[in-house]
Symmetry: C2
DNA sequence: ACGCCACAGATGATGCATCATATTGCGCAT
DNA sequence: ATGCGCAATATGATGCATCATCTGTGGCGT
């Protein structure tokens, strides 16, 4: 857990929150890691107040938990919880893909294809962090194309909870993390809502097998590390 | 907006947050109402810090918004947003009902029927606030029966955004707010997942027509129900 | 030697002082 | 009389001091 980059503009609490979110999504925190408000305040160069605000928000998102009143930690994803989140994502990202198929413009589809191209490159170069970020970008493009801001927010929270897990799993995912994205784009081009929904569901279930395997490895009985 | 009851136990911020949530769900705030941290601190008898924490959380939930950096208000629900939330609820409460149908025990079904009975009584007595609360209880029993805590949290947030609207709409809803609940319970008794999902979707769409009418009356152009 | 208790350090919660800024209202000039 | 501008006030943001509590270690007693 190295230092964080500068916190620009607007609101300190929000800036810290965003920085911590990024850290979470990039796998800079491991499950079990403990966060200390004073330490973070020092790292960010602020007082404890904005850090506390950010921590509270993250805790509200269940992206971090208070193991005891004074022990703030990155939680371990349990299998049941992952399966539940996956079931929710299937419903919601399915909705996003279906709607996006009806509204997607040529420009937006080009954007998606650019993401895929960049992702291929990241994969070829073995840049996991970038690949993971692009995978996420792809998924979040769908509710955005669909024009569903509330859905975007809900999904963001779910991804936040999966953050440390996803970042870790992407390493083992390999091509399966991207292969299933192509049928999604194809369905969008055909304005095929049902097809797009099925394609993204495939991605979540099949492409996400590496994630599930990762959960099982950590959650199951033998919890080492 | 009268005074709030005592804030017991644990964490002041959380207590204030919960109190404000309750206020929101009970329709004690109207869209456009302005919240002032110092005033609330006085009403709750705390310093501004816990109030600020709670406000921040509510803002994060988009249950309240910062119109300007210093102007905290209850937002007006717009039609597009309501439709989006409804679409999400259809997916998610459908999932909850379907799962609940497979897992519901006799005891849990009894609980649901108790809620319906109380709701009938509240309706007969014209106790709208109680009726609205029981309606909410019914909906939240489903993800709870299904054993889906993450889903419960997601739905809670969505309901929070609809809080002032729902409380207001229940007045005009009349029996349609409860009629569609009975088929849900019947489907649960039959362990009919698809039936339960369809029944709750009916409730959201048909029972919720009063809500939509309410949104339309306040929001954009005067469209009919 | 082992176990219990006490004290010190750590750490989040709370309260509050201060700051920056936006809003509002009054006064002055035209 | 009206409009512009300045100042007073309101109000959220930030920082920080203090408090309560938990943790862990070391010493004392058995």
């Amino acid at each position: 857990m190295s230092e964080f980059t500068t916190l620009d503009h607007e609101n300190l609490s929000t800036a810290v929150y965003n920085a911590l979110c990024d850290g979470l999504m990039q796998g800079r925190f491991q499950p079990g890691d403990r966060l200390k408000i004073r330490d973070l305040a020092e790292q960010f160069g602020t007082s404890v107040t904005p850090i506390r605000d950010a921590i509270l928000r993250l805790a509200h998102d269940e992206a971090i938990t208070f193991r005891s009143p004074r022990d703030i930690r990155i939680p371990q994803m349990r299998e049941a919880r992952y399966r539940e989140i996956r079931a929710i994502r299937i419903r919601l990202e399915g909705l996003a893909a279906e709607t996006a198929a009806h509204t997607a413009t040529r420009t937006q589809i080009d954007l998606l294809e650019n993401i895929l191209r960049d992702n291929e490159k990241a994969l070829a170069e073995g840049d996991r962090r970038k690949g993971s970020a692009l995978n996420q970008s792809f998924h979040f493009m769908l509710p955005q194309i669909a024009g569903l801001p509330v859905l975007t927010g809900v999904l963001r929270r779910l991804w936040l909870q999966m953050g440390p897990l996803i970042a870790d799993s992407y390493l083992q995912g390999g091509r399966t993390m991207i292969d299933y994205h192509y049928p999604v784009v194809e369905a969008l081009k055909r304005h095929d809502g049902a097809g797009a929904a099925m394609a993204i569901i495939d991605d979540i279930q099949l492409g996400g097998q590496a994630v599930l395997a990762n959960v099982l490895a950590h959650d199951g009985v033998a919890v080492n590390a």
